[in-house]
Symmetry: C2
Subunit: 234 residues, 2 copies
């Protein structure tokens, strides 16, 4: 496949906003990598020699704490980029990365990225606006972790991943529940119980996913406070 075709197929904001020449140069210098589920992409605190764009599947960015616990920082899917910051700082990776599902990655070598940033002044602005979006996404996570209960975060997660289907919204869980729980900052058992409770709020399991039959009830749960939830349970 031609570089131009590959780049167009990835649907990556960073690549599609760059001028043709830059885009083709990056893709030509890159390597397409196919990863199995669970395979490691790079480890935390190892030298950043490449950065990546997800072409397909899901990638988990995580850290292992001294306690042995794993903190899942972000999940990335088609078109999303990661490890650009690590490469540009010429330092170590600030997190580890694993393939969360079978996935296709575009691996961009460090020197290619640095050269592009040198040669194409507009590319810096693209990266800047991309990093602003990262900040927004992380801020949203912090907001949820500081102010919402586990079940509210689960509900908001479903809401975010829901797509219209017939009269209702339908959610195909993007990855396994163990991982989903880690991303939401709860244990798998708690996720299981949260999903069970959500049946009272219009979330029913159907083959291969979940159906949201009462969107209003779910939104109400997400926006409610603990006190209100207690009242409603009576």
């Amino acid at each position: 496949m031609q570089p131009s075709l590959i780049a167009a197929n990835i649907q990556c904001p960073i690549l599609s906003q760059a001028k043709l020449e830059t885009r083709e140069f990056l893709v030509e210098r890159s390597r397409i990598r196919r990863m199995e589920r669970g395979e490691g992409i790079f480890l935390h605190q190892t030298p950043a020699r490449s950065c990546f764009v997800v072409m397909n599947g899901w990638v988990k960015l995580y850290r292992i704490l001294d306690s042995g616990d794993e903190a899942v920082l972000r999940m990335h899917t088609r078109g999303e980029a990661f490890a650009f910051a690590d490469v540009l700082r010429r330092g170590d990776h600030q997190y580890g990365a694993d393939a969360a599902s079978e996935c296709l990655l575009l691996e961009i070598p460090a020197d290619a990225l640095r050269q592009v940033l040198n040669d194409d002044p507009a590319f810096g602005a693209i990266l800047l606006s991309h990093s602003f979006e990262q900040i927004d996404a992380l801020s949203d996570q912090i907001e949820a972790l500081k102010c919402q209960s586990g079940i509210q975060r689960v509900a908001a997660f479903l809401r975010y991943h829901a797509r219209p289907k017939g009269n209702h919204l339908f959610v195909t869980l993007p990855y396994e529940k163990v991982l989903m729980a880690a991303y939401l900052g709860i244990k798998p058992e708690s996720l299981s119980r949260a999903l069970a409770k959500l049946r009272q709020h219009g979330v029913v399991a159907v083959d291969g996913g979940l159906e949201i039959t009462d969107q209003g009830a779910l939104d109400e749960l997400i926006a409610s406070r603990a006190v209100e939830r207690r009242m409603a349970a009576r």
Copy 2:
């Protein structure tokens, strides 16, 4: 005071890394604002007309959720910058900002920032590396919120703000406990109880602050898991 002197006094990485001409232009176009504790700087989802550098004191960045709860996203102090992303995207503020203590701010008008980004190609790179640091700070918060208990986050907060003093480490709490609790994602009562428990781990209250008499014990607590903490309590 001359712009050059002001800029030097702020000790802001963004300004000090910029070339002299850029730095002076920004400071000349800016206004120094003095805010009382609790005073609002700007509101969430209002047009971003300026961005800011903290010259002194503490600033709280926060969001009010539909539930009425307040999520404290970041705290900024001397030399740190905020709202640059909002200005450059020509959009609304992604969070509200309040003076958490009496403080001095450098208020940079939106057009001055945009002009500098246009005229000085190196300035974009400075902003990019600054936003990478923001991402790191937010990632650290997420790591703590997902994997650490309240008391561990309190301990880590003390560790972070501690400075050597005599034989031990000493912490002057940077702002009131209500705010500290909100930043850590717990209630003020829980913070109070956490600090009480930390006395068993070598944290003693002295006039105007806390002394860490057993740094090893504190670090051990921060890195421990729930199971280990239970064992240790016997």
